[in-house]
Assembly symmetry: C2
Homo-oligomer: 338 residues x 2
C-alpha cells in the first residue's frame, strides 16, 4: 500500500466515475502524464544566458550540490538582474555562504560579514540602485496601454486569456485564476507565474522563486544577498521586494538544509549552527558541464491541459476534483534536455 | 544589511506612511509582535491527550529529533484518529522509518516493508475501516443544521464570522476568506484551519498538517502510514484523503530531511538513499519529559488582530500591504508553556 500513496501524478486516466461532479466531461490524465506526453514542440528552450550556477560545498557524504537559477526576463526586475550578472562575473559570492534557513520560509545566502563595515566584502563597481517602482511592471506590450492608469485593456486581455486556459464554460475552473487572495488575477506568461491588479503585473513568491534581500525601505537591495522560498508561498512579500528568478535544478540542496537557530532562522555559530559554504556562483557562460533546460511553453496546448488538470484532478487516486487551484500550485514544468 | 531582510515579523509598528493605500486607518504592529503581546487569557491549552510524540533516530551530529503531533478534535477524522491512538498504544511504529521525502510535497513514514505480504508488520487488532464520507464534516453544532443538505445556516454563520474577523467594512480584507481557489470560504475554528462549501467543512492541507496514506479509492487508509506537508499547500488533496493532525513542535526534523530519489520521492536504497529510523511513537501519556503547549485562541481578539496583520502588513519592512491572505498563510501560533 505504501507506494501508492498520492500516486495520482504518475497514473493513466481512468473512466470518469458517475458520482463525481463534472468540471469537464470525460476522462483526464494526471498533470505528470500530460507533461510526459507533451510533444517536443510544446517545450521551449531556456536561454543559457539567463542561467546562474551556484555550487555549494559537497554534503556530508561528499556529494556535490549544484543549484541552477533561471533569471527573470524583461520587463521584470532587470535592474537587479543586471547587478546579479555583474556580481557573478566578478565571482563575488565565491567563498561566501548560506547564512539563513528559516523553516517554511526562506533559505538565504550572501556575505556572513555583510553587516560588519570592516569585514564586509566590497561590492563590484557599477551596481545600480533600483527604485521600488520596479517591483512591478506595467504591461506586457506598450501598445496595449489604453489609458492613463496603464493597463485596463491589458487586464481585460489577460482575464480573457485566463478564460481560454481554464475554460469559459466552467465557473469553478475560472476560480483558478479569479480566486486569488492577493491580486485581482494570476496567470502564467512566458514560462512564469504572475499576478495582476490595477494594470500592474508582478512575479509572485512561489516555492523556489529567488528574491533580493534588502534593508528597510526605501532600500531595495543590490542583489548581493539572495533568498529562495522553501515553504508555503509568502505572497505578502509580492510587490514589497524584488524577485529575480527561480531555481530550476537542485532545489533540494536549498530546501533540505538544516534550519538556523538564530533570530529569523539565521545560522548562529554560538548555537551550534554551521553555515553552508558557497564554492562559486557563475554565469552559465563560464560553466562547461551544464545541461540544456526547457520549460513547458505556457502558451501551448499541453500547458493549458496541464494547468486544467492541476485544478481538476481526475486521475484514479482522486475522488473529488478541487475545481480550482492557486497560481503557486501550478508550477511551470522544467526538464533537462537529454 | 543581512539581518534586516524580511525582518518585518519582529519589529514594532511604525507611523503609517501617507502614500500607502489604507486597508485600515492607523498603525499595525507585525503579526509576531501581536502574538508576543497577546495576554495569557488569549492562549488556549492544548489537551495533552491529543499529543503524539515521534522520536526519530538522532541526527548525524548525535542530536535528538523529537516531533510532536497534535491530533484533530471532533468532528474531524475521528475514525482514523482512533486507529492512530491504537497504533501508538501498541508501539506499532517503533523501529519503522521515514520512507519518503518528496521535495515541495510530503515527508511520509510507516513500514518500509508494508507492500511485502510476508515481511509487513502486522497491524494491531481493532482498527476500523473509515468511509470516504468522513473526509469532511457537516456542521460544528448539530443545532445549526437547518435543512436536509445540512449546513446552509452554518455556512451563513461562518461567513458572518469571517466578516467579523477580517472586518465588515473592508472588501479587500474580506478577500482573505472569500478569495480561496479551492472552497467557497475558509476560516479558523477551535485552533484549526478549515475550508467550507456546500454545507461541508473540512481541514486543509497546510504546511505541517499530518494526513493518512492510502491505496486507491475506496480505500481510505488505516492511519499506519502517515505524511506531513513540507511545501506549498497541496490543497488538491483536501476532501480526497484524511487529515488527522499537525506538527506543533520539531517540524524542522521532517522538513529538512534529505529528499528521496526513488519514484515519487520514496527513499531508494539502491540509489544511495538511507531511510530515517523511527525510535518510537508514543501517546503523550507514556512520555515523561514533554512540555505543555498552548495555541493562540482563534476565538479571541489577539488572533483576529494577528490574522488581520497577516493580510495587511503595516510593519516598517512593508511598503504595500497585500490586502488579503490565504488560509495556509495564517498558521495558528503554538507555543511551549514555560
Amino acid at each position: 500500500m505504501r507506494k501508492t500513496l498520492l500516486l495520482a501524478a504518475l497514473l493513466t486516466a481512468a473512466p470518469l466515475a458517475a458520482q463525481l461532479p463534472p468540471p469537464k466531461p470525460g476522462d483526464l490524465p494526471s498533470p505528470a502524464e500530460i507533461v510526459a506526453k507533451a510533444p517536443k514542440a510544446d517545450w521551449h528552450a531556456i536561454d543559457r544566458n539567463d542561467l546562474l550556477v551556484l555550487d555549494l560545498a559537497p554534503d556530508a557524504r561528499g556529494k556535490p550540490r549544484r543549484v541552477v537559477i533561471q533569471l527573470l526576463p524583461p520587463p521584470f526586475s532587470q535592474g537587479w538582474v543586471g547587478n546579479i550578472r555583474k556580481l557573478a562575473a566578478a565571482h563575488w559570492w565565491d567563498g561566501l555562504a548560506v547564512v539563513r534557513v528559516q523553516d517554511n520560509y526562506v533559505t538565504q545566502w550572501g556575505d556572513p560579514d555583510g553587516e560588519d563595515k570592516v569585514k564586509a566584502r566590497a561590492l563590484p563597481k557599477g551596481l545600480v540602485e533600483v527604485p521600488q517602482d520596479e517591483y512591478v511592471a506595467y504591461a506586457f506590450d506598450p501598445s496595449l496601454i489604453d489609458d492613463e492608469r496603464y493597463g485596463a485593456k491589458t487586464e481585460k486581455l489577460i482575464l480573457e486569456r485566463a478564460d481560454q486556459v481554464f475554460g469559459r464554460d466552467n465557473s469553478k475552473s475560472r476560480r483558478a485564476f479569479r480566486g486569488d487572495a492577493y491580486a485581482a488575477a494570476t496567470l502564467h506568461w512566458n514560462g512564469w507565474q504572475l499576478a495582476l491588479e490595477d494594470g500592474k503585473i508582478w512575479p509572485v513568491h512561489c516555492y523556489g522563486m529567488v528574491g533580493v534581500g534588502r534593508d528597510m525601505p526605501p532600500n531595495t537591495g543590490t542583489g548581493a544577498e539572495l533568498y529562495t522560498v522553501i515553504g508555503h508561498a509568502p505572497r505578502q512579500l509580492d510587490r514589497n521586494i524584488a524577485l529575480v528568478g527561480r531555481i530550476i535544478d537542485g532545489m533540494e540542496h536549498m530546501s533540505s538544509l538544516p534550519r538556523g537557530h538564530g533570530e529569523l532562522g539565521f545560522y548562529d555559530p554560538a548555537k551550534g549552527d554551521e553555515r553552508v559554504p558557497i564554492l562559486s556562483v557563475r554565469l552559465a557562460a563560464e560553466v562547461k558541464d551544464l545541461p540544456a533546460y526547457e520549460y513547458l511553453d505556457t502558451e501551448k496546448a499541453s500547458f493549458a491541459k496541464y494547468a486544467d488538470a492541476r485544478a481538476n484532478r481526475r486521475d484514479p487516486f482522486y475522488i473529488r476534483p478541487a475545481g480550482g487551484v492557486d497560481v503557486c500550485n501550478v508550477p511551470v514544468p522544467v526538464r533537462r534536455v537529454q
